[in-house]
């Protein structure tokens, strides 16, 4: 899958549109999980909505093409999204809040039947139930959930069930938008293990996993894109991002990841100052410059281009070869009291 130059904006009542996603491109090979990370409001969910055909009413796609396996290139501006028959079967969305995704008055089995019937008219109820039950069993989930209502299941179980339903039609691509953010760590792990199982068993060939949790992402993604203010500021293999991040924003995100490790005792980790920019009037030049600890005059004036870094790239003026890259100031040591 190739997505090129995707731009999305929201219409507002006052007239100035909010530029939520700006010129984002990526490609996704079979067997890959692309992770997209960034803080709230960086446009990651907007990107997911645009690519999965779940646009909000005030959303407008202003640029971009999508192509699958080099067959046809679809101009998603004309159609304002992916073709309708792709939804669910070619590209499927796994939404954030499982509680809101499920119908509270329908049993899980009936809901799954609805989903299947929308795409495969010939399948009857019994066959649909069998198919769903089989899938649940393959993934080690109890088949009794078919007869349960959503409120009878725990939050983690609901999220796993939604995951199973969103992949029932064997989509080519699964877009998982913050599927773990409302879950506790044990349920997060279970969900990630299940997705890995799906990949291994061939129920799923590739996925886009969106989250703000880099630690979790590093456990599932093969590549990671870091988004800031609607743009991808750095993209590389998971290993490179975790161990050799180049963009100051990526470094700040990594430094703020608190792991239960003795090394974070008795030190003060500096968070980022300021807040993410107002996207009606994004900052000039590099959009990260008002919060960047290494900002130089050029950063406010010109938009940095993508500097190739082996298997990925980063957009930062520190990387253009004329400036020496400062050591990451990660922690500030504090004398233990």
């Amino acid at each position: 899958m190739k997505a090129d130059n995707i731009s999305v904006q929201y219409e507002t009542r006052v007239g100035t549109p909010v530029l939520a996603v700006n010129d984002v491109s990526f490609h996704l090979e079979h067997g890959e999980v692309l992770g997209i990370a960034g803080e709230s409001g960086c446009g990651k969910s907007t990107l997911a909505a645009a690519l999965s055909g779940n646009s909000a009413s005030n959303m407008r796609i202003t640029g971009g093409t999508v192509s699958l396996d080099d067959t046809t290139t679809i101009d998603i501006v004309k159609t304002q999204g992916i073709p309708r028959d792709w939804r669910g079967s070619t590209i499927s969305l796994l939404p954030q809040r499982a509680l809101n995704a499920l119908n509270p008055t329908a049993r899980i089995g009936d809901y799954a039947y609805d989903v299947i019937r929308a795409h495969e008219k010939r399948m009857n109820r019994r066959e649909a139930m069998e198919k769903t039950g089989e899938r649940l069993e393959q993934l080690g989930l109890p088949t009794r959930v078919l007869k349960s209502y959503p409120h009878q299941l725990s939050g983690g179980m609901r999220q796993r069930v939604v995951t199973v339903i969103s992949t029932l039609l064997d989509p080519d691509i699964l877009i998982a938008d913050e599927p773990t953010s409302a879950l506790d760590v044990s349920s997060q792990k279970a969900l990630v293990l299940m997705l890995q199982k799906m990949m291994n068993e061939g129920m799923l060939s590739r996925a886009i996993f969106i989250t703000h949790d880099l630690a979790l992402l590093s456990n599932i993604a093969t590549r990671i894109s870091i988004m800031y203010a609607g743009e991808i500021v750095e993209e590389n293999t998971t290993n490179e991002i975790i161990h050799n991040a180049q963009h100051p924003y990526t470094r700040a995100l990594l430094a703020a990841t608190l792991e239960p490790d003795p090394s974070i005792r008795n030190i003060t980790i500096k968070g980022l100052s300021g807040q993410s920019p107002d996207m009606q009037t994004p900052p000039s030049g590099c959009r990260f410059h008002p919060r960047c600890p290494y900002a130089m005059p050029v950063c406010a004036q010109k938009v940095p281009g993508a500097t190739p870094l082996g298997s990925g790239f980063a957009r930062c003026w520190l990387l253009d070869g004329t400036t020496e890259i400062p050591d990451p100031i990660k922690h500030e040591e504090v004398v233990a009291s």
Partner: protein, 278 residues
């Protein structure tokens, strides 16, 4: 060391009755000394928030006692008893937007807090205290006071709520998942604010979280809750490096790490996966 000023004994909360009965908190006991930060960790549904609500006197315990300065405060009910209690014990919750009247400016929100005080302060004194509290949480009063809640970022909003709690000079701050809704980079700044306040004002903090990483960063002591019971408590290093209870061990193993889970999932067999999922 310091003497404990706040202690909880056998605190229990039961919801419903008969077959529907749920014991949300069971026999929880602990002490709090001035200036210490205690993290209460546990998964969703482990009773952490029910415990916080009881300590804040927002819900009545079924059994057990809460003592402050040697006085039994469990049965306090009337507003004239609760007001003095709330001056000492304050809460900060998960969603700062929910604790904010969206039609008020920061100044109004903070000024209203003085209704908890019985003595009257002059306008100038109030403003001086507000300035002091905002400075303590790292906000510039000039830039913040006239703003509405929608003009603040999530981190700033949460800091205003912490400042509000500080206005009454509390001795115990109960922070219930107050950093969970924030982005990682903002989260650290709030944790730093709490750490700093505890040291500067000798403020005790009960920090409730499901994130062991945050507990590790912040807390002097860690309490682990599981299904309503406190299964482990002790100094942070001891509990997290040498966990005794199986649940604490599992919690630590399930935390996602940049270097992968301690026990890497790899290619799990279907049985192992089924076990992990249930």
């Amino acid at each position: 060391m310091n003497e404990p000023f706040y202690s909880v004994k056998n605190l229990t909360k039961v919801f419903g009755g008969g077959q529907e009965q749920v014991v949300a908190v069971k026999d929880v006991s602990f002490d709090v000394t001035p200036g210490e930060i205690i993290a209460i960790v546990g998964e969703s549904g482990s009773g952490k928030s029910t415990l916080a609500r009881m300590l804040l006197k927002l819900s009545q315990p079924t059994a057990g006692t809460i003592m402050m300065d040697g006085e039994d405060v469990t049965k306090l009910k009337r507003p004239n008893q609760l007001k003095p209690y709330w001056r000492d014990v304050q809460g900060v919750f998960q969603n700062p937007a929910g604790s904010f009247n969206q039609f008020y400016s920061v100044r109004t929100v903070l000024e209203k807090t003085f209704n908890l005080h019985e003595h009257r302060l002059s306008k100038a004194e109030k403003l001086e205290r507000i300035h002091k509290a905002l400075n303590l949480v790292g906000l510039d009063p000039q830039q913040t006071l006239e703003r509405g809640s929608h003009e603040l970022s999530g981190g700033q909003r949460q800091r205003v709520i912490i400042a509000r709690a500080l206005l009454v000079d509390p001795r115990l701050l109960i922070a219930d998942e107050s950093t969970s809704a924030l982005d990682a980079s903002l989260r650290v700044t709030i944790l730093n604010v709490l750490k700093d306040l505890s040291q500067r004002l000798n403020l005790s903090v009960l920090f409730i979280t499901h994130d062991i990483g945050q507990a590790y960063y912040l807390a002097d002591r860690v309490f682990v809750m599981y299904r309503g019971e406190m299964v482990e408590q002790g100094p942070t290093e001891t509990v997290l490096q040498f966990p005794q209870h199986d649940y604490t061990k599992r919690l630590l193993a399930d935390v996602p790490r940049l270097e992968g889970w301690t026990a890497s999932p790899g290619d799990l067999s279907i049985e192992e996966l089924a076990k992990a999922l249930t």
